[in-house]
């Protein structure tokens, strides 16, 4: 994976599946024999990681949806952490 920037277009990593679970009232990340429960912010970011949208676009979209500002550095930090965990991947 190349180094991360706001132009990076992350997608859910191979072997992982993102899914909304009504019973748990949160997004979860499923992988072989395991599950990560995502908090609200992580779910908002990850559900937008489709390999098409850039980190910048994802941050802007969340800002617009929740009438917030200045989320880009938070989104970048999450994507960096998620990349290390292989939850997210990019070219």
């Amino acid at each position: 994976m190349s180094s991360l920037s706001t132009a990076t277009r992350p997608r859910v990593g191979a072997g992982f599946r993102l899914q909304w679970e009504p019973v748990q009232n949160c997004h979860v990340l499923l992988y072989p024999e395991g599950m990560v429960k995502l908090n609200g912010s992580a779910g908002e970011i990850m559900k937008r990681c489709d390999g098409e949208r850039s980190v910048g676009a994802i941050a802007a979209d969340i800002e617009q949806a929740h009438t917030l500002q200045g989320l880009e550095s938070d989104v970048l930090a999450f994507v960096e952490m998620a990349g290390k965990q292989r939850w997210l991947a990019w070219n």
């Binding site: 191979a14 072997g15 009504p22 748990q24 979860v28 072989p32 599950m35």
Partner: protein, 385 residues
């Protein structure tokens, strides 16, 4: 429900033991010793109903296990339904029966992960321990799994007779391209319990194996992750068995019996409902079998006043029954258990015998003949009510 009882969460993990039929005869198998007496398997429709009910309760991980699940010719139908319901589908297999064509069909049905079990890294030891010629086949199957782009977890059950080969086992897993390697020390239930004296490693063997594993971890970094499942007999600490009784784990046995863990059927004085007669919701929330050992209210001393009672929940009920003859006792692997001497004695016996020494007692292979013979000696659990 009383106000002080914690709310019961969903059964996140559904383990579907599709069949007890298996081409292998592993001496450490945890299937019931009398498996051959339980031949009335659930139908395809039964399983599809169980899957739907499980998903409604919030189950997300589905393990398809056995026996060897590939002997069910409706496996693809079951996988397809599971995937469309939203389960993450895991196939736990010996690899026997996984042809290129079958792998492609399972992939098309939506199967997401295959866990391949190996008995050891050398053909001689592998064939001996599983009692069939399967090692070459598993190497081929590992390639089939990689070719389908499935993440591969390789599982090797570790015991006295293969623990000294752990360096080669890890090297083999790397060569075959596994993403994860699970080195699972034998848990002593069912067939493994019958063969315990031959399978328990010594403390020294275990120390060396952990040292070797640490060295490989440092060398491999992110390339392959190695899980070393510590043996509770040697640790002196009880494990939080199935992450707590009726907490997140629900097994359905081949005949439809619903269980909080795959060996719980051995416990006396408890009846477990069948999915043929009850919904998973009733079973999970309201059955006596699932409620009996939930939480900490059932505990006796030394568990009930123990500072670790929430962390290990008293350990394993089956082990307490097998070793202390009381399913509500502290798990005897715990140093605080009054029965802990039984465990240290067993480990000491293993240490007193030279590795590789010929044993007077032969290994008992898991096969239908032995199952019928030994199953007759197992008293049926009296049911209550």
């Amino acid at each position: 429900m009383s106000l002080d009882a914690p709310a019961v969460g969903p059964p996140l993990w559904l383990l579907a033991e599709l069949t007890y039929r298996c081409p292998l005869h592993c001496v450490f198998c945890y299937n019931p010793v009398d498996f051959a007496r339980q031949q009335d398997e659930l139908s395809t429709d039964d399983w599809l109903r169980v899957l739907r009910q499980g998903r409604e309760l919030g189950a997300v991980q589905l393990g398809l296990s056995g026996g060897e699940p590939l002997v069910r010719d409706d496996l693809e139908v079951i996988v397809a339904e599971a995937r469309s319901l939203g389960y993450y589908t895991n196939l736990l297999t010996s690899g026997v029966g996984l042809t290129v064509a079958r792998a492609a069909a399972l992939k098309a049905a939506g199967l997401e992960h295959v866990q391949l079990s190996f008995q050891d890294s050398t053909q001689e030891m592998n064939d001996f321990l599983s009692h069939t010629k399967t090692f070459d086949l598993k190497s081929r199957v590992a390639k089939i799994i990689k070719d389908q782009d499935w993440p591969m977890v390789m599982n090797v059950v570790i015991h006295r007779m293969n623990i000294d080969h752990i360096d080669r086992i890890i090297a083999m897993a790397v060569d075959l391209g596994a993403e994860y390697l699970e080195l699972a020390n034998t848990q002593y239930y069912s067939w493994a319990y019958l063969n315990r004296d031959q399978l328990l490693p010594t403390h020294e063997q275990l120390r060396l194996a952990e040292e070797t594993t640490l060295a490989w971890r440092a060398k491999l970094g992110d390339r392959m992750r190695i899980f070393f499942v510590a043996p509770d007999y040697h640790e002196g600490r009880a494990k939080k068995c199935v992450n707590g009784w009726g907490n997140m784990f629900l097994t359905v046995a081949p005949d439809g019996t619903a269980l909080p863990c795959h060996t719980a059927k051995m416990l006396p004085g408890l009846s477990f409902p069948s999915v043929r007669e009850h919904s998973l919701r009733d079973i999970w929330f309201d059955s006596e079998g699932f409620n009996r050992y939930r939480g900490t209210g059932w505990m006796k001393e030394p568990c009930s006043s123990c500072e670790f009672r929430e962390q290990d929940l008293g350990g394993c009920r089956c082990q307490a029954f097998m070793l202390a003859n009381d399913p509500a006792a502290a798990d005897p692997v715990c140093v605080k258990s009054p029965h802990h001497g039984l465990v240290t004695d067993a480990v000491a016996r293993a240490g007193a015998i030279a590795p590789g020494a010929v044993r007077e007692q032969p290994l008992i292979f898991r096969n239908p003949g032995n199952s019928i013979r030994l199953g007759a000696a197992v008293p049926a659990a009296p049911s209550i009510g």
